[in-house]
Amino acid sequence: MKDDLSNDPYLAKIFEGCNDTEIAELSKYLDEWDAGTYSSAAQSVFDHAKRKGFTILRYLRKANNFNKKGSMRVPRSGYRQDGSAVYRKGTEFLIVRLDQYGFEKIVTYGNNEE
């Protein structure tokens, strides 16, 4: 973790002032995120939370609490030409994409009411 912190200033910013339990929780959520066009998943999450006006932990918890079960997936199977897919439920949506290892990762989480 120390190496990650020195290589990624955004990871250090995210963990700043957090206790061990919060760091463990944040790390677990960050594993679910894709860097996309950002330099890292940490930078992506940092930027998302700032734009949407949430603390990072609150934003990540909201994304994590999104329940894919019972949501509508577009496309139903596979991915769009740009590699993305969306899970939609009520006013919330989760846009995902496959990472280089073939795991589905979060690109962004949004709520149309917020």
């Binding site: 330099s39 930027d47 700032k50 577009v74 962004t108 149309n112």
Partner: protein
């Protein structure tokens, strides 16, 4: 520092300012986003207008944030090609709502225009950086 490098530093600073401005603009669109979410505007590939706009936002901001932190972007050529493709006006569902937004959704219109301006700035930054590299090679 050469003129081109000075220009890059200016662009970097300007990109940073625009990223901050877009955060404010985004938060100002809240009410209009709530109204738009009630409409059934779906793109050819099945995403709603707000989902398309969110994905576009993330893709463009990602490159801009890389410039904000590190300056040069790793895969420059790929980034240039991506940013050329990411024009907000390449997306039918966004064009459709953009023309309507002039009267109904002014905050959304401002947000879309500023986002596309950011895209163009990042693109120009990368092209200057690429030329600088070719000259020094």
């Amino acid at each position: 520092m050469s003129k081109a490098q000075e220009k890059l530093a200016f662009y970097q600073d300007y990109i940073l300012q625009l990223l901050e401005q877009l955060n404010i603009n985004y938060q100002n669109t809240r009410l209009e986003r709530q109204q738009i979410s009630q409409k059934d505007v779906i793109s050819k590939e099945g995403f709603t207008f707000l989902e398309e706009l969110e994905l576009l936002t993330v893709n463009i901001r990602g490159y801009a944030c890389q410039i904000e932190t590190t300056g040069p972007i790793g895969n420059e050529q790929q980034a240039i090609a991506d940013l050329q493709r990411l024009s907000v006006f390449n997306n039918y569902v966004i064009i459709q709502l953009y023309s309507e937004s002039r009267s109904r959704y002014p905050q959304i219109q401002t947000y879309i225009s500023t986002l596309d301006y950011l895209r163009l700035l990042v693109l120009e930054y990368l092209q200057i950086q690429q030329n600088l590299r070719l000259i020094s090679a």
